[in-house]
């Protein structure tokens, strides 16, 4: 195995039960609306308190520059780097409706391209962390 990806329970209650104990990188998926941003801020605060080494926001369902700006402003204020911006994509809605994977139904979709960016950024961050560990 080269990576473990865990889809966590929604929300924040589970974090107090040790669910992030061994996570190295936490991706907090955030949508461009206030309650989602607030939830992301709370998750980040708890995760930091629990000692998760690296936190990133992944902006999702972004439809406009204003959407992106709102997420970037909130994340900057909360010291949460935005790893990638995944656009709102009707292809994703269609795949969700049909119960199929977006990678199979629309591999060229804009949202897929953005998630490929997430993967590349994670690889780069992971390499950097490993070098830092070696340097220690």
């Amino acid at each position: 195995m080269t990576a473990v990806v865990t889809d966590m329970e929604a929300g924040i209650e589970h974090l107090k039960r040790g669910t992030l104990e061994h996570a190295e990188i936490l991706l907090i998926v955030v949508e461009p609306y206030f309650k989602s941003l607030e939830a992301a801020g709370r998750i980040a605060e708890l995760a930091r308190g629990l000692g998760v080494p690296t936190l990133y926001a992944v902006a999702n369902k972004v439809q406009s520059e204003r959407d992106e700006a709102a997420i970037r402003a909130y994340c900057a204020e909360h010291d949460l780097p935005v790893l990638a911006v995944v656009p709102f994509d009707p292809e994703v809605s269609e795949a969700e409706r049909e119960g199929i994977a977006i990678l199979d139904s629309a591999p060229e979709a804009a949202a897929v391209g953005a998630i490929e960016e997430v993967a590349r950024a994670l690889r780069a961050a992971d390499r950097y962390c490993m070098e830092a560990r070696v340097a220690d």
Partner: protein
């Protein structure tokens, strides 16, 4: 690399976790995808069909117990090795992803170390 994906319900975290798992597997091989949501649907985002998804046996909670770590925080302790769990309960998904359903059992328990 151990990545956890969190977010508010409906944020699209499962779609991102599933797609990310396959993309990482395509780029670098073997990925373990863990569905820790009590209402699991990562299988579909990974590309398994409803019938395959329904047939997946979750990892029993009886394989683990809660303890407290040195800092006094909640910790989950495994009673069998992660390798045994993956071998027994892992489901093959496209692109070299292996899926585990753990419900409320914590992610690191089946981690690849």
């Amino acid at each position: 690399m151990k990545v956890a994906v969190a977010g508010k319900g409906g944020s699209g975290k499962t779609t991102i976790a599933g797609t990310l798992s396959r993309v990482l597997a395509r780029q670098n091989g073997g990925v373990l995808a863990i569905d820790a949501d009590p209402n699991p649907n990562l299988a579909v985002s990974l590309g398994l069909d409803a019938k395959q998804a329904a047939a997946i046996e979750p990892v029993p909670h009886s394989f683990s117990h809660h303890g407290k770590n040195a800092a006094g925080a909640y910790s989950v302790e495994l009673d069998v090795t992660p390798e045994e769990i993956v071998a027994r309960y892992g489901t093959a998904a496209p692109d070299g992803v292996t899926l585990l359903l753990i419900g409320r059992v914590e992610p690191h328990q089946a981690g690849a170390g």
